[in-house]
Amino acid sequence: MTLSLQEVEHIAYLARLRLTEAEMTHYREQLSAILDHVARLQTLDTSGVLPTSSVLPSRRVLRSDEPRPGMTREDLLRNAPETEQDQFRIPPVFE
């Protein structure tokens, strides 16, 4: 199958990736080839087969909900590209 350029553009939009036109053309070819390869899965009859949700036996994983020390605000903000008043700084989201 061959993806259309519009489809590639739409996928890039969903993935929040700004791509150049050259990248779009390139990915269109490569993704189409990969999708052709994975299409062989469609030939397998999987009626009655449950999808894998975990490779391990399912079990209860609970712990008591108790407060404990976490990382400091300083630690959490140290890697941020822009901060202000101990918070992450971003451009306005609403007009």
């Binding site: 791509l19 390869h37 087969v49 391990l56 959490l76 890697n79 941020a80 590209p81 971003i90 306005p92």
Partner: protein, 497 residues
Amino acid sequence: MPELTDLSLLSAVEALRRGEFSSLELVQASLERIQRLEPSLQAFLTLVPEQALAQARAADHRLVAWRREPTAPLPTLLGVPVAVKDVICVAGLRCTCGSRILENFIPPFNATAVERLLSAGAIVVGKTNTDEFAMGSSTENSAYFTTHNPWDLERVPGGSSGGSAATVAARGLPAALGSDTGGSVRQPASFCGITGLKPTYGRVSRFGLVAYGSSLDVVGAFGRNASDVALMFTLIAGQDPLDATTLDLPVPVIQLNGKGDHNPPLRGLRLGVPEEYFIKGIQTEVEKAVRAAIEILERLGAQVKPISLPHTEYALPVYYLIAPAEASANLARYDGIRYGPRLPGEAMWDIFFNTRGEKFGPEVKRRIMLGTYALSAGYYDAYYGQAQKVRTLIKRDFELAFENVDLIAAPVAPTTAFRIGEHTDDPLAMYLEDIFTLPANLAGVPGLAFPVGFDHQGLPVGMQLMGPHFREDILFQVAHTYQQVTDWHERKPGIFS
């Protein structure tokens, strides 16, 4: 006395205790060798020589005190240098994941596997090169540089944990951590002629391992022989409250017996050989070396049985839907807000688009796109849903096989190390390098790769043993027994000696 850098992990531990040399001498020798090789090998993204030397001096104080008065037991790896793949967090050390999008990221915490090695006294000398976010089979997808194979500098070391494998093979360090999502420990171990373990999913905590494909990822270890890797494994394995997929199972004490303990040593072992792993297209010398190794195991007492894992051919398409789907979700966090560089944009959305478009490399973008598509409305059932069903069939193949055999022997990769640049613009050809390693990740079973010969160009050939969930102990026992009667694992790349 052999060179300090030639010592195995266990020998180094024992010699340090006896006081044959100091941790400072050992770490210095290691750093000197690494720094001498680095211009041609390029295994490290970050090296911290001063910090490592300071830790070595501190270890020496403890060792001296212990030798004077050996009351309390010493931490197992006290004073021994190790390296960590750059997708695993070490507090205070830059963790790039081989990506520009984390070029300045300094994690404030240790991964659990690292925490356990540090508590065991190990000294981290640096972070090793990897394909960007562990997506690749050669380290060529690193945004920084390509690591070279110590057996032939024009070839790749394998990947994605290529930096760790190359430095251990080149005698920079006795052991290192890696991660294996689709073969990223076993394939570079094979290409570099060393021993590498992909543990059972859920055996080693993923906390602090930067997520790629969360249902497949596992932290593994490299060493120069099975006993060293077994030691690393027992130190990093075990339940962790910070990773809910880890199981509350005792970590086995692995007692590796020499060949003299039983006669023959592998009597009673049922070894399965899957026909699907000896397909057309596999390099003849790889098949020959692996079959010869299986014969040796047979001579050591194993009962060899042909088996079938009929869904093997579907592992590649299943993996290249599931891993990218999980990656597309996991990598959504890199948006230029909380860490990493930020590209300017008028609105917040523009920051996301610009930062991600510019700072992710081509393979990462390709997999994010593929995964996004496989999860998108209208395609989910056909792609992702169907892949998870076929995954069940692959898992079942292993369950059925393990009703009749104790473990499975197969090649690690269809070829020995390929040339740098050979597959770079053909993603499918690159993906085909992983066909023999992907099934173990999809089924969650453990796999151990180790050298079983060389091809006519002097490149190592690896074999992998795969076992039932949580039976790493059998893998180590069998590989160790093999290594008692062969010396492939002791060969050293000649170019640097």
